[in-house]
Assembly symmetry: C2
Homo-oligomer: 101 residues x 2
């Protein structure tokens, strides 16, 4: 079954869309590293929050992706625009529409 990750992060005011751009810039390369879904979303009701929903072929694939040079570069670029408030939940994806499991 696939490894899921439900994450959110807070950005400093006015920087949400910059961080969204950074997150989306690396998306093309994710599939070859074992990622099936990497969905970025925002909300008008919480204008400084970004949600990311991820599905990976394994927990190891997700962990390995964090060590890629391009991931490290993206994190370094985004970090100054984040407040440091994160939430994260690891899950096991059991099925559904659009799910690889």
């Amino acid at each position: 079954m696939s490894y899921g990750y439900l994450g959110s992060m807070k950005t400093k005011p006015g920087h949400r869309d910059d961080v969204v751009s950074i997150l989306l810039s690396g998306v093309d390369g994710l599939r070859e590293h074992g990622c099936d879904l990497y969905v970025v979303s925002v909300s008008d009701t919480e204008p400084d929050t970004i949600w990311v929903f991820e599905s990976w072929r394994s927990k190891d694939a997700h962990a390995a992706s964090l060590q890629l040079p391009e991931t490290k570069e993206a994190i370094a670029k985004a970090m100054p625009m984040l407040t440091g408030e994160f939430s994260g939940q690891e899950t096991t994806i059991v099925g559904g529409l659009g799910a690889q499991h």
Copy 2:
């Protein structure tokens, strides 16, 4: 841009997998009602919680789906197994791998 919904629900002990089955039973029909993603997940660390990540072509499509007879039937079947603790966050999906936006 797509309408996203990040939801979680708590089940009474021992009923998580029954509720998962109910959620997954209706998945085949969702696409024709405007749903692109409906991903159900669980976690060993919170054994009585179910997470659902949804992407719909519009907020209206999501709202309309809740009025479908098959949805109402599924909700009625699951409700006695739920504790009543829910969380939900509406979002706007801005992009990513596997995202329709």
